[in-house]
Symmetry: C2
Subunit: 340 residues, 2 copies
Amino acid sequence: MVTMRDVAQEAGVSPMTVSNALTGRRPVSARTRQLVLETVERLGYQVNVAARSLRQGRTGVVGIAVPTLDSHYYSQLGHRLVLAFSQAGLATVVEETHASREGELAAFRDSRLNAYDGLVIAALGLSEREINALSREVPVVVLGEQELHQTVDHVSMPNLEGSEAATRLLVSRGCRRLAIVGSPSLDDLADFVVPEGAAFTLRAEGFLRAVREGGVSATATHAGVTQAAGVRCAENLLALDELPDGIFCVTDTLAFGVVRGLADHGVRVPDDVLVIGFDDVEDARYRVPSLSSVAPDLDHLVDEAVQLLQRRIADPSAAPRDVTVGFTVVERESTTRRGR
Amino acid sequence: MVTMRDVAQEAGVSPMTVSNALTGRRPVSARTRQLVLETVERLGYQVNVAARSLRQGRTGVVGIAVPTLDSHYYSQLGHRLVLAFSQAGLATVVEETHASREGELAAFRDSRLNAYDGLVIAALGLSEREINALSREVPVVVLGEQELHQTVDHVSMPNLEGSEAATRLLVSRGCRRLAIVGSPSLDDLADFVVPEGAAFTLRAEGFLRAVREGGVSATATHAGVTQAAGVRCAENLLALDELPDGIFCVTDTLAFGVVRGLADHGVRVPDDVLVIGFDDVEDARYRVPSLSSVAPDLDHLVDEAVQLLQRRIADPSAAPRDVTVGFTVVERESTTRRGR
DNA sequence: CTGAAAGCGCTTACAG
DNA sequence: CTGAAAGCGCTTACAG
């Protein structure tokens, strides 16, 4: 391997001068710089990041930890975060935590090990206490899955408000027997811990508010977070005495499964029942029927994550901020009654 | 920060003994190990990976470079690679290359900089020559997008054979006017360079073989790789004098867009036209109609990628291997004619 | 503008 | 089974 020392010897200067010519940290005469850069090129020198990191105590890399890449929402979110950090001049690395406490601890550990300068994490498995403790050791921004009471930088989704608005849309379209897919119960929501994180609970609360306000009936079903789970939820609903006439799904992924599960039994959307999701993933627009959904302002979310992490890296003692992004309800075919 | 030296002093042993107790590289008496581990726990010591990497010359991290995470196929592939390497005891990091030459060069550069011990890359932008040159400097396994003539470890998709089988299925279901979505032309395929990589060209060749064998007519359209591109392709097909009766799409993502684009104009699948895709992404099963598709043996592909990279890391001079995985054609609603 | 020395925190290689 | 010394390849801090 070619080292900085090799370049220095070849160019007849000190390693310090090579370092300075490459990093621009200290001024180097134009002529010397030219010579160094030519030598670097000729020998094919590449800086050794391990050595640089060891000495500098930082890497220029930001970690992005999401539950899984195999998800409509999280793959899109990861993609957008990578792009945004890249535009801010920061390299990124994406890790899967599998929504587990262990995976999330590993992401923090990688950060503390100086592998990353900072961490953006969509935390589901760690408790608020653990996150608060860990966040003291490494610059971190937590993405919208928990309520963290402003002890850590946090960018939240409009979980409650968005769900309420989506449910209201169903009511305003004439639905009177609602269902929520992604909540095991309609009672004791506050006590209930869903493994999928607090976002699910908040979305159920928003649903419940609109149900009460609209004076309509409601039922709940839950079977997991995947499209397969959505299919199972549809089967649960089909087993009821009377099929609901409006279904709010706490994620688009679940909604896709629900629509598929209904189709398996000849039940059509929107003809027989209206369906709305949450997240507004790209596929929502391209499904048949296209899926109505709550669209959180991801541009804003990603932008805030980048800003907050940069600020935190620069100033570890800055006061934590908590930002909740806005949303719009995007109405598509799945909640639009067709004329016959 | 707590260092190994701190632990050693506190435990009354040498740093070497701490290192040995933690790594197990050399035997340590049970009693000493116990003492060291307790001290590590008590002080909250974490090994510094930068220092370890600098000394060892390796990191234990494997890079996975895919064009984008915002894709049905590549997010799933990335996810499966992460899982497989994790089971093999290797940490992984996922990078997006944006299907660009620059992004792919960056992935190789990160590897050379000792950030990764090895690289798995789905290369679209780099030429065969460039890949061959770069692969001499870092252990690398190339995934199925180019034909690399066995100068580098390579796991290929059954692009040609799979496409041929998918197209045959359309013919066997009675289609006589076929279309391919994802190829700009049916002539001069060999000369034609699609920015999406050689896989698209190979899939077009497979289509063409089955078309010739079946003695049916064919047309081609191309507008990009996204669902939006699929919609545009559907519009191109709808503008023809006569709509094709069977459509082979070179990816499921394009097929999803095509089905949506047809629905925009009241054309139904499978009632009015049959559609089949390629990749068998998870969504294919959950769409309405569910999408028939070519399912490459991803278990095998991922398994080979892990094996080949581990072998290459262990023995940089091993003879390169080229493996092509098998496939099945999964028939679903989109190619199944319904009784009326 | 340039350089010699020291050290980041580990592990290798030598020694006992 | 345990340790003292050296060094991985950089950059910081001191000096001129």
